[in-house]
């Protein structure tokens, strides 16, 4: 028992030194961070032919603040990750099937039918303005690249309106850098199983370690 206590105590002293190294910022948040549901109904031939695009289906607004004692390494990254609920048995490359109309002789839609575009006025993201696709469940696309470990040279301060802005700031004061409009586009094939299908995109904001 004495040995256990000794190990735990030692671990307690070591752990904070590692964990504290990850906290450089006072606040990292998305505003608002509530979920959004978007339904795309393909009930007309022209919708199949031309696809459907929803501009600004979501606005991802970032707010990152320094601590009271400013840490020069306070910076952040933003990613988006696709999820097709594999726990329900969904194949890794397909949309989750909620219901199916007809006999299901054709294929279910693959994940890459969903295209996502990120944009803001300063074009801070390297993928700004270009539709991106995912291939497999869990695929991750960087909107603002993470740096592990972060160094002062990696930080691009807010207000620069440059590619890769990742310093502290807020959509309230630097809207063109800290707001991201999310557009989605789906252009289904003519030979897909009719039915209702679903995907989830998670936008993940995290401070750089």
């Amino acid at each position: 028992m004495k040995l256990l206590i000794s190990i735990l105590t030692l671990f307690q002293f070591i752990t904070p030194s590692i964990a504290n190294a990850q906290i450089h910022c006072g606040l990292v948040e998305l505003v608002p961070n509530t979920s959004i549901n978007e339904l795309l109904t393909f009930d007309d031939f022209s919708k199949y032919q031309g696809g459907m695009i929803i501009n600004s289906v979501a606005k991802v607004r970032v707010r990152v603040e320094d601590k009271a004692v400013v840490d020069p390494l306070c910076s952040w990254s933003l990613t988006m990750q696709i999820d097709n609920n594999p726990g329900a048995g969904t194949p890794i490359t397909e949309w989750e099937e909620l219901t199916q109309y007809g006999n299901g002789l054709n294929a279910n839609p693959s994940i890459d039918f969903l295209e996502v575009r990120v944009r803001n006025a300063c074009q801070t993201s390297p993928i700004d303005g270009t539709f991106q696709t995912f291939t497999n469940n869990g695929d991750l696309i960087d909107i603002i690249t993470a740096f592990i470990p972060v160094t002062p040279a990696d930080i691009i301060p807010s207000g620069s309106c440059a590619n890769g802005v990742n310093g502290p700031g807020s959509y309230l004061t630097n809207y063109s850098e800290f707001n991201f409009d999310i557009d989605i586009r789906v252009k289904p094939d003519f030979n897909l199983n009719p039915g209702i299908f679903q995907l989830n995109i998670t936008f993940h904001l995290e401070e750089n370690q």
């Binding site: 206590i5 735990l8 105590t9 671990f11 307690q12 752990t15 904070p16 964990a19 504290n20 990850q22 906290i23 606040l27 990292v28 998305l30 961070n33 979920s35 959004i36 549901n37 978007e38 339904l39 795309l40 109904t41 393909f42 009930d43 031939f45 199949y48 032919q49 289906v57 949309w95 909620l98 109309y101 007809g102 006999n103 002789l105 054709n106 839609p109 969903l114 999310i182 989605i184 789906v186 289904p188 094939d189 003519f190 030979n191 897909l192 199983n193 009719p194 209702i196 299908f197 679903q198 995907l199 989830n200 995109i201 998670t202 936008f203 993940h204 904001l205 995290e206 401070e207 370690q209």
Partner: protein, 258 residues
């Protein structure tokens, strides 16, 4: 001593949970897609296609209405297209409706029951989705046969006056019976995006009626296209079609391959 150990462990766990909290936030966008099956059959055709037989040569050579119906398909799912002959059933479910009987109608050899299958169809484009077909004729793409060699290659599919889909032994315009996933359907698509002079989504339909003389309609065959249904075969030697006015209709049915 025990208390202090418990306190140490509690503090330790509490400390770990707080110091590991890296600042993170997340937001979810869920996209739900409702893919509803859309099948569109655009048809250009006159309300009535009339065949008036008032010359002897028209009985011999028949009357052909070229391109009388244009069928244009748009479908988001795999599909089949077929035609079926129907009437209101005045003379029976598989016969034309007789509206007027010319003359006194006293001749016992004059038969008012004209089979719906006497109408012949010809599609301009071969059915490319009928590899699994097992019947004598998979579609209506054959040339109209001459009167000297009666054939059921183009006789209209009829099934007891109903719109029951044809089987593998019968004729389809596009696709065919069954849902094996190969050789029995045409894939989703549209005439709007097809190019070239031939398309699986565009069909020009010709109609022909050939009464013959005497008027027995030698091109009338059963749904298999193998058993003659002309007036004599269906009745007795010496019988012929009773003069008069008759009507029927052709129903074109586009359905999902299933």
């Amino acid at each position: 001593m025990k208390k202090s150990k418990v306190l140490t462990v509690a503090l330790l766990l509490g400390g770990l949970s707080s110091i590991n909290a890296q600042l993170i936030d997340e937001k979810d966008v869920t996209v739900t897609m409702d893919l509803q099956p859309v099948l569109q059959l655009d048809m250009t055709t006159p309300n009535q296609v009339e065949f008036v037989f008032d010359e002897i040569d028209e009985y011999y050579s028949g009357i052909t209405q070229y391109g009388a119906t244009i069928l244009k398909v748009s479908s988001t799912v795999s599909w089949d297209l077929y035609a079926v002959g129907r009437s209101t059933g005045t003379n029976g479910p598989e016969f034309w409706d007789q509206h007027i009987d010319y003359g006194n109608g006293a001749s016992v050899n004059a038969i008012p029951d004209l089979p719906l299958s006497l109408l012949e169809l010809r599609q301009n484009q071969i059915n490319n989705g009928a590899a699994n077909a097992t019947g004598a004729f998979a579609d209506y793409s054959a040339p109209f046969p001459p009167i000297s060699a009666p054939s059921g290659s183009n006789s209209l599919y009829v099934f007891n006056g109903t719109n029951t889909p044809p089987t593998l032994d019968h004729k389809y315009i596009g696709g065919h019976a069954g849902s094996t996933g190969a050789g029995d359907f045409l894939p989703g698509g549209s005439y709007l995006t097809s190019s070239g002079t031939a398309s699986d989504y565009y069909y020009s339909i010709d109609y022909r009626i050939l009464p013959g003389l005497p008027a027995i309609f030698p091109m009338a065959f059963d749904e298999l296209g193998t058993t003659a249904e002309d007036i004599v075969s269906a009745n007795a030697a010496g019988n012929y079609a009773e003069p008069g006015v008759y009507t029927m209709y052709v129903q074109y049915i586009l359905l999902e391959d299933q």
